[in-house]
Symmetry: C2
Subunit: 383 residues, 2 copies
């Protein structure tokens, strides 16, 4: 049921002709109240897209009634004209819904550096507004897909309230944030400051720890809306826990559907001096093309794990580092461990455990392999 | 003539059976004097290989008589036993040459995490010592090749003296340093402190600005030896200039032969506030897999250039950045510029000019595309 699983939300997804395939490309998610509390996290890329710039202003109020999303064009690096296009989209959406533009967030995804065909987008918004329904969540999730092969949705049920969510994202997946558009909804009653803290905590351990290809998008947007329709007002910790469950579920779906990937790789760095050190070492592995190609080739090349973490400033002594791949400790004390022939990498799931022997903290980064299909897909994307 | 072009150097390259192909895999370069001044730059990877650890100690003296190099095994992450192997190699080489082990640097390249077959390597060193000649430079250059398709050599002639050089390197090419073994020789008379400064200056603008695949090796070594055999004692600036010319020539050869590459890409960042900013922005592009796959696909996807530099802390205003690809300014003021259809990317050479509009400094980073062949070659390397 996606974003319409919680009470008091309506959604729709329609085809406006932005995609040459004729697939659905405009989504609308509307909060019918009673409350309109909201929070958001955006890309840290300094070339933020026009819809990100607009939605930042909208979300600064802590209130939101609707999100309009399109695939088929990112509206990034399109100058003042691109910002006007986003503004016009919010205005038009607001008119259809009897709201003000300041109540409407906008999110876009697709190719950078191309203007949106507004003559198709605005009629699409009109159609989406007419199609809004309490069962529209799955349609909305399909309309935001780009190179995604499947829609990503989630529902987290709690005692008398729930969280629903949808996500798109298949390339440009990197920390702060994985590239993606995400809408989370809940019928719990949550103050906007509490919702913002809960959303930050949830993204920090989910989307921000997925590093599929090291590339940070211009359009990343995670929006959360809470309307209190359930009549339940859970505590801050409960809200954070439920949002984290929903965000983690969606993040794992993004990982499993990353462009061209053949492996889902969980890199856990243990016994680090700090969580930051564990994340730094894990990300260095996730971004090492030689390691990622080796794993694509089913090669437990632990030397490339060490070469990757050897470039970081994480606290460790090289002769105290162990590396375990799919249960086999192939490197002990920074040197040769058990035979690499014992490692079975034929499945999709790979776990790499790095023991730094430098403390008691740990963290996991999720990534994918670097495959022939990744290169093929991304070398042919915009042409 | 490679490293034997300057007077007073002997070299050899022989097949010791380290490579399964039977190709040459042990090289020896000997300085017959009269002087034995030397300098070196090594990898900054914290998992430095045993030969790097050994050679660091040797070069601390500022003196060197010989370098023994092997392909077919990196002797990295091999523990105390690996260090003993390196030490034994230096001892054995010294015996053959009537030197002390402290006069002999060792360099190795190949797979990480595997012990060297000393029963083959040491007889190979014996053979190489017997084969030493003043014409042996090209043989030595061939013996250090791994996935290189061609040997890399250079000769820089100056007034009465010269610099010779050889290099290997085809993968793991990243700053500080490009992955590689390099030996530079000169018959100029140069004090070791001057030689060290000149070598650092030369590597900083050559090997350290080649960032083929963002991966930093455990074995990078650049050794320079000066014997004064020409009787000429050039000034420090002249030495730095000649070493820079030799190093740049070799660096461009590494770039042209990088594993699986189909493009040589020069990313010049202009009008930066500082050279460091220019390098940071250039490296962000060189390491962006989505940009590198787009260029492999002949797609002038300037949005991915902006997305890459947007992740850096270089000083710039997003709406003042221009991007020019092969002469066409496809992005102006952070937005849409001239039509991307005008960009011809069918050749091997690509120039990307990024104008940050934030100052007067500039720097160039050289990289390659991310191709199907890169993935294929690196997914099949160790198995």
């Amino acid at each position: 049921m996606s974003v319409t699983a919680p009470q008091g939300f309506r959604a729709a997804g329609v085809a406006a002709g932005l995609k040459s395939t004729g697939a659905a490309d405009v989504a609308l998610v509307v909060n019918v109240g009673p409350r309109d509390d909201a929070a958001a996290v955006f890309t840290t890329n300094r070339f933020s897209a026009a819809p990100v710039q607009w939605s930042r202003q909208v979300l600064a109020t802590g209130r939101l009634r609707a999100v309009v999303l399109n695939s088929g064009g990112a509206n990034a690096c399109t100058g003042p004209e691109g910002f006007q296009d986003t503004h016009a989209t919010a205005e038009h959406t607001a008119e259809q819904l009897g709201l003000g533009a300041i109540d409407v967030a906008v999110a876009s995804t697709g190719l950078i550096g191309v203007r949106l065909p507004m003559d198709r987008l605005l009629p699409g918004v009109t159609d989406a507004a007419k199609a809004l329904s309490a069962e529209g969540g799955p349609d909305a999730a399909r309309a935001i897909m780009t190179t995604d092969s499947v829609p990503k949705t989630t529902v987290v049920e709690r005692d008398g309230w729930s969280v629903g969510g949808m996500a798109k994202g298949a390339g440009m997946l990197a920390p702060s944030l994985a590239t993606m558009l995400v809408v989370l909804t809940t019928d719990a009653a949550v103050d906007p400051a509490v919702l913002q803290e809960a959303l930050k905590a949830a993204t920090a351990v989910s989307f921000e720890r997925v590093d599929s290809d090291g590339c940070l998008s211009t359009n990343d947007t995670v929006v959360a809306m809470a309307n209190g329709a359930s009549g339940v007002g859970p505590g801050a910790e409960e809200v954070a826990e439920a949002l984290t469950a929903a965000a983690t579920d969606l993040a794992m779906q993004l990982l499993a559907d990353a462009e061209g990937s053949t492996k889902d790789i969980a890199i856990t760095v243990r016994n680090a001096a700090t969580v930051e050190d564990a994340l730094t070492a894990g990300r260095a592995c996730a971004r090492n093309n030689l390691l990622k190609t080796a794993l694509f080739g089913n090669d437990p090349n632990w030397g490339r794990v060490l070469a990757a973490i050897g470039t970081t400033d994480a606290a460790f002594e090289p002769d105290r580092v162990d590396v375990t791949i799919n249960g086999v400790t192939v490197c002990r004390g920074g040197a040769i461990g058990d035979p690499r022939e014992g490692v079975d990498l034929t499945g999709r799931a790979i776990t790499i455990d790095v023991d730094l022997g430098a403390g008691t903290e740990q963290a996991t980064i999720w990534t994918n392999d670097l495959s022939l299909a990744y290169v093929h897909e991304n070398s042919a994307y915009s042409t």
